[in-house]
Amino acid sequence: MAQEERDRRVVERELTMSRAMVEAIAHEMREDEEVFYMGEDVADYGGIFDSTEGLLDEFGYDRVMDVPISETAYLGAAVGAAQAGMRPIAELMFVDFFGVAMDQIYNNMAKNTYMSGGSVNVPMVLTAAVGGTYNDAGQHSQTLYGTFAHLPGMKVVVPSTAYDAKGLMHNAIRDDDPVVYLFHKRLMGIGWMPAPGGPKTPVPKTDYTIPFGSADVKREGSDVTVVTLGLHVHRALEAAESLADDGVDAEVIDLRTLVPLDTETVVDSVRKTGNLVVVDEDYRSFGVTGEIVASVADEALENLDAVERVALPDVPIPYARSMENEVIPDVQDIEDAIQATR
């Protein structure tokens, strides 16, 4: 979105990312009775990461449904309800639990449109919490961006700010295809997990959509293009600000959606800067960093002077703080990668 457009919409009020998401969901539930939310601990608890906080009071148990711990059943049921014309939002508490129900996700939700020759569609949103940085070990800390983006048939959304979270959620619910909406725990603004400063932004009270496939230039720069998503948008911005003092002017691009992927914004930026750094909290091999580098190489190899990848090395995420800090890219890692392109 153009900066002018964003300025026009800026209002005084700031929201955390979780409040912005919930505002969009509540709006869509008011507008359309076919929209409902289901998941584990989403009603009374309000979502472990505040993803549904307050919805039960307005909409009741019929439309904010706690479900048995049976992801295959309720995610598959969301597929069935969506095929019947409803617009379910189904929450997987931690994205790491995807394996419990992956068949329903990638063989039904993602493929039924194609395998029916387009005669049925699956207008559902699968929400899930992603991310580490709080030492919860290998089964509760992954992002798995690449996993969902790799398998065809799912649109994949990863907001990094409250403004984007709301606009992308409106779009996700209104989309006639299955959308996987991955929210980073560290960005939600939960009391017990302090967020960095960036994700809390002004958010318009009215509804608005952010189209999928539109990456956002979160910081303009001329020397190097840093492409990232989720929590690492904020780490990249911090790195960019830090390097600005050394005379390095980094452009930071927030992908916002992986499917569809806005390669145009990325390629345009690389044509301007000549240098590319891709930062991802997901595993390095066969993932987002490789995909972005390949996309840029396809279209602008002649403009590419240097490439760096910063991602989780190919190890499960360790529990102890010293080791988790080692594997999850931090601001210094991003600064080092930017410097390495110089």
Binding site: V67, V100, D136, A320
Partner: protein
Amino acid sequence: MYEDMVTARYYEERLQEEYLEGKQPAFDISAGPIPGELHLAAGQEAAAVGVCHHLEDEDTVTAPHRPHHVAIAKGIDLKRTTAEIFGRETGLSKGKGGHMHLFDPEINFAGSGIIAQGCPPAAGAGLAAKKRNEDSVAVAFLGEGAISQGAFLESLNFAAVHDLPVVFVIEDNDWAISMPKERVSDVRDGSKRAGGFDMPGVRVDYDDAVAIYEAAGDAIGRARDQNGPTLMEVQVHRRMGHFMGDPEAYRPTENQEAAAARDSIERLVEDMEAYGIEGETLDELRTKAQERVDEAIEWAKDQPRPDPEDAYEDVFVNPPSGATDSEPEFELAGGDD
């Protein structure tokens, strides 16, 4: 059994103290000496000791995300367990797993962080015992919230159809995080699900360690004698939140009070006193247990933290050719820089 129960209870009290250090006044899950989430099992000790006191080291136990009482009852190395919970290098998993993922192969104990995840591997341990004609058994512990999960139901069927020496133990503490049992299952007695698999099902009420011990003896004996699996459900109570930091706004105060009032340790003490066991003997056991716990915690806190580089080890036992133990250098592409 009493000694293990008070060890587990006191262990969790001490962990709670340590966990909260540095996380107050505003609770920050990423601060303090103990990393990550912490799920405590105070109130559930009877289930662990009643079952595990029939087991030997070669018998397998898989525990869910709330594992400490089961681990202690199975005889886990308490010092290395504690070091793991503190994220230290000498922990059972070298600081890689944490409190939900305790693995002690010396006693065939494995933890898991995902609901019902331990059920299929328990069936696998039973399968291995059967194939090798050994008389060891496997026990999978799970919560009542897990009985809707496919992995559990599929494991029951698998164990039944192959007559595997497995006992599935549902610890019914009434709550799956914020979801009360009645809102997620129309079957109040989870052991009735055994009927669907032509397997014996038994339920023990009242947080009663002795009754659990007796019922578990039958089930484990049946498995050891190669007569197939059993599904047990035992009533326990969750005296705390789902995890440390859980505000429990969803839980009525009466329910919390009822859970605190139905204490399995107090019940066992009453039973023992009725049998004429002296209070002095119990005091001695409790003191011994507390000393053991304090010693383990002090030892663990003195242990070294893992080197950050250790993160790259143990992905494979037999690392493939070309794999390195350290983070790869950034690769350059598309230019001559």
